[in-house]
């Protein structure tokens, strides 16, 4: 052993080899973890299912709402009544938990259509309020039965444990009643 000692610094070739082996091992383990974790992410097929979809809103009558799926996620399309639109606009945004104006949540000229994700931002249940007999909560929008969140007619959180408004998915109108989601 003595011949391997670099007496001036007290380090040896063996110390260097230990460190180098340790470093190489750490890199190797790190590299092995990447595929092990990455496989958990949405796979190519699931991602591909997120291609944009076209929806015709003409059959959705005023006061009616429909549910559809995009990327496996539930989306609500509501054709709002005049009263519901006015209520949504009359709110003082500063008082909201997640401040957003109704204009930010709809497309200009198409305010009657509210298009939002349909899973409660609390823990993901589907709020009631689409079918005619459903409870709509205290604000003419939706009521989540799981832990009692109330959303208004713009899908904004007004009461209950949910932290955020029902998000608006990416979409654009191409035509008066035709939208492309995605």
């Amino acid at each position: 052993m003595a011949h391997a000692t670099d007496t001036s610094t007290g380090t040896t070739r063996r110390d260097f080899l230990m460190l180098a082996t340790g470093a190489a091992g750490a890199v190797a383990i790190g590299a092995a973890v990447i595929p092990l974790v990455s496989q958990l992410a949405p796979d190519a097929q699931t991602v591909a299912a997120g291609a944009p979809i076209d929806v015709d809103l003409a059959p959705v009558a005023e006061g009616q709402a429909i549910k559809l799926f995009w990327r496996g996620k539930l989306i609500f399309v509501r054709h709002r009544t005049k009263k519901e639109i006015e209520e949504a606009k009359a709110v003082d945004v500063a008082t909201l938990r997640d401040p957003q104006t109704d204009e930010q949540r709809t497309k200009a000229g198409h305010e009657q259509f509210l298009i939002i994700y349909g899973n409660c931002t609390h823990l993901g249940c589907v709020p009631l309020g689409n079918a005619p007999g459903d409870p709509k909560g205290d604000f003419d929008g939706w009521f989540c039965p799981c832990h009692g969140s109330h959303y208004d007619s713009s899908g904004r959180i007004r009461k209950g444990p949910a932290p955020l408004n029902l998000p608006v998915p990416p979409y654009a109108f191409n035509g008066d009643t035709k939208i492309k989601i995605g």
């Binding site: 796979d43 539930l74 823990l123 993901g124 249940c125 444990p161 949910a162 932290p163």
Partner: protein
């Protein structure tokens, strides 16, 4: 505490094996000659009952897998296929689904036993923490198992519980997407839960081995909380005393288990889970399985999403710190006049939280949940404070003294001779 081994190989083959793999010696020392405190009551039979339930779940589970299909479009029907077409499929599935509930009944008795008799205190801290780990693994296993039949409760339970992680700041949403393998609970989620539901019971098995190892290093606690001082006087050999008593406890437990399986197989379940999963509609009233209800009540009591998740997690994790939270040296609550009442109050609080977890989260129920959540955590604070000034009752000088003081005259003498004679009796 078992001292040196009393195993004597009798045949040539046994001697040959003993010199190569002393497995018979290990079994003999840990399940035959192993000394157990002579004053254990029936609450101590639940450890054996739990071991039995784990094996029962593994056996029925492996058989269910032979007929079950882990796919979002087929899982529900494959469970119905098990129920209707497979020979005795109904029995195996009901044993497995009710077995999960019975497993939790046993573990809750086992945990409360530990809380009452101070089994978490030195030198059993590691033993206790391993128990908390087993409890957490059991919860994960049961949760993922419940997702497998892919009914409405399966689906929405999975949605709500996985969404808990979205409360974490910054990385929350990514974690949820990685749990789901998509943008909502779907087939990839079912597949990975199936894989983990198969794996985790075997991890539980591994931790149970550690748990029993730790137990056999420090020895069992007992109703007095006084440690064994004289193995001759204070203990009896595991076989036949504990073996037969555990077996009797197990049989009685199985009678109850059997009653549920044969007469009320869906009593502890939810009718909604016989409706196939529908991602477009949540059942009007979703509740987790009964064994999660107290923790669910704590989750909902906190009006803030992240706060609720933290409170629920802490409610379990706090148990692991109990050995250092409880400041009293006296183990058994029998000798702690104040803490004993606190214990029973805590017991009632847990039941009340369980009830509240099943009620809708509105109005008075929310306020009540908040009060009981405060009381739940209050127990741990109170144990810390009370231990500092409480004056315990006089402890018996030894386990033998405690037993002989309550038995009378002749019978006491008989017990004493039986015990002293024991080491000579063949195991």
């Amino acid at each position: 505490m078992s001292g040196h081994s009393s195993y004597v190989p009798k045949t040539g083959i046994e001697r040959w094996l003993d010199a190569r793999l002393p497995i018979i010696r290990l079994t003999h020392d840990s399940a035959v000659s192993y000394p157990v405190p002579r004053n254990l009551n029936y609450l101590w039979t639940f450890g054996g009952i739990l071991a039995f339930m784990l094996v029962a779940q593994i056996v029925t589970g492996i058989i269910l897998v032979m007929h079950y299909t882990p796919h979002a479009t087929m899982a529900f029907n494959s469970v119905e296929h098990i129920m209707r077409d497979v020979n005795y499929g109904w029995l195996l599935r009901y044993l497995h689904s009710n077995g999960a509930s019975m497993f939790f009944i046993a573990v809750y008795v086992h945990i409360f036993r530990g809380l009452y008799y101070g089994s978490y205190k030195a030198p059993r801290e590691v033993l206790w923490i391993l128990g908390v780990v087993i409890f957490l693994l059991m919860m994960a296993t049961a949760f993922m198992g419940y997702v497998l039949p892919w009914g409405q409760m399966s689906f929405w339970g999975a949605t709500v519980i996985t969404n808990l992680f979205s409360a974490l700041p910054v990385i929350g949403e990514t974690i949820v997407t990685f749990l789901w393998g998509g943008y909502s609970v779907d087939n990839p989620t079912l597949n990975r839960f199936f894989s983990l539901h198969y794996l985790l019971p075997f991890m539980i098995f591994g931790v149970v081995v550690l748990h029993i190892w730790a137990l056999h290093v420090v020895g069992q606690n007992n109703p007095t909380g006084v440690e064994v001082k004289n193995v001759q006087k204070d203990t009896v050999p595991f076989t036949p005393y504990a073996t037969i008593k555990d077996l009797f406890g197990m049989v009685v437990f199985m009678v109850v288990f059997g009653w549920f399986v044969f007469y009320q197989p869906n009593f502890m379940g939810h009718a909604d889970n016989y409706i196939m999963a529908n991602p477009a509609a949540t059942p009007a009233h979703i509740v987790p399985e009964w064994y999660f209800l107290p923790f669910y009540a704590i989750l909902r009591a906190i009006p803030d999403k992240l706060g609720g998740v933290i409170a629920m997690g802490s409610a379990i994790v706090v148990l692991a710190f109990l050995p250092w939270i409880d400041t009293s040296k006296v183990k058994s609550m029998t000798y702690r006049p104040i803490a004993r009442q606190l214990f029973w109050a805590f017991f009632v609080v847990c039941i009340a939280l369980g009830y509240l977890g099943a009620m809708p989260a509105e109005g008075g129920y929310v306020i009540a949940s908040q009060i009981f959540t405060a009381l739940y955590f209050g127990y741990f604070v109170a144990l810390f404070v009370v231990g500092l000034f409480e004056r315990p009752k006089a402890l018996p000088t030894s386990i033998a003294d405690a037993v002989l003081a309550s038995a009378h005259g002749g019978s006491a003498a008989r017990i004493a001779t039986a015990t002293a004679a024991e080491p000579n009796v063949k195991g």
